[in-house]
Symmetry: C2
Subunit: 215 residues, 2 copies
DNA sequence: GCACATATTGACCAAACGGTTAATAGATTG
DNA sequence: CAATCTATTAACCGTTTGGTCAATATGTGC
């Protein structure tokens, strides 16, 4: 020891371009998050490493730690982004203003199935976060809240349906119908992820409508 | 060097009991697999480490490598075991001999929902394997085959149903109905895993039967 | 009771990980 | 243009991982 063993880049061995303020903070964070999203898609959340994210964004892993203090915060930010963009359920005004509850529900079901079929990768990532949530309470809480909101949107519709045409059966409640609708969407999501090629939306909808007697 | 720096247990520092043939091969493998299952349940498949499995089974990690050449083979054996015991779908004779297809389907649905509600942990592990399958072709193939068998069992029933009462709707096919049934079961599995406390089988079944007009 | 196959252990290794830090390039400000 | 702040890099550290291996204990056949 005595003289060498210092840390940091050695001047002689460097290439050309090095540090400095190039891009604004917000852009860098977004860039890193995007890289994290891509890595998570291909390697899974558990396979996501700070180094892989850095490599994907073409920067050092030290910089990732500079913008996100820890890997946990990076993953948390990624979950925020996934929840915000995947937006577990978004009822557009067009659907919300359909007069008949039955038609409204049908339109919403179709929208959701279309969305699931179109973005299987994002949904898959959502499920991975959910799996993570089974072992991590804070993550579970955030996802659970999102799913509650999802079911609530369906519940208002099934309640309106039963209001118009009550005597559908003995134990049929708005909660039960909403739960069934959500379960069906969830099941479709699983199916669309497992085997996207054989996921035929038209056939699914035709079957559902046939069963429900919607002509 | 010259004398020390040898590997293996040092005689002086050992306790009392050590190696030897204690249990037969098959038992040891099963013991390790069970430990792997328990570790996977608590830490997830990605969190499963050879050392953790060894610790859980109260033996050294070296022994795990002795009975399973690599971690990959251990995980593969675990998948075999999960598929065999979770048995994605098993139609018992009692149900298979129900005369009316409609009643048969209803009984099968009820059995599956009961099973899912009773073993959420196993189902969760199954889903984790499936997530792993999205990035690992051999795993995907095995799971996919199992799910195909699952859907096929439903298809024979829906085909028999349509045979008895054909004109249910325009686009209603046996394939479509089977797909819907499977999707519903999948969705229930997800729901049962996400929020087991609020998973009310009776309400679900009542809603489904009410919708289908089964009285 | 000795040879031999089989189990079993702990030490060891290389690789990869999350995280910290000194050095430094560039922008900002006075 | 010098001081200062921010962004960035590579080296480094401690830990954990999958995997290998020599040593060793135990049963089996002869």
């Amino acid at each position: 020891m005595g003289e060498a063993a210092i840390r940091g880049p050695k001047r002689e061995e460097r290439g050309d371009s090095m540090p400095g303020r190039k891009a604004p903070e917000a852009t860098r964070r977004e860039q890193i998050l995007k890289a994290a999203y891509e890595v998570a898609l291909t390697k899974g959340i558990d396979g996501l490493t700070v180094r892989a994210v850095g490599a994907r964004a073409k920067l050092s892993h030290g910089l990732v730690h500079f913008h996100f203090k820890s890997k946990a915060q990076l993953v948390s930010a990624l979950l925020d982004w996934v929840l915000a963009t995947t937006a577990v359920l978004h009822v557009p005004a067009v659907i919300a203003h359909i007069p008949l509850a039955q038609d409204r529900l049908r339109a919403l079901l179709r929208q959701e199935m279309d969305r699931l079929a179109k973005e299987p990768r994002r949904i898959r990532l959502f499920f991975e976060f959910w799996a993570l949530g089974t072992r991590h309470a804070p993550t579970r809480a955030r996802i659970s809240a999102e799913l509650d909101r999802y079911r609530a949107a369906f519940r208002t519709m099934t309640a309106a349906m039963l209001d118009r045409e009550p005597a559908r059966g003995a134990g049929v409640t708005a909660d039960g119908l909403a739960a069934v609708a959500v379960s069906f969407v969830n099941g479709c999501a699983v199916q669309a992820m497992i085997d996207p090629a054989h996921f035929d939306i038209e056939q699914y909808l035709a079957s559902v409508e046939g069963i429900l007697g919607w002509s």
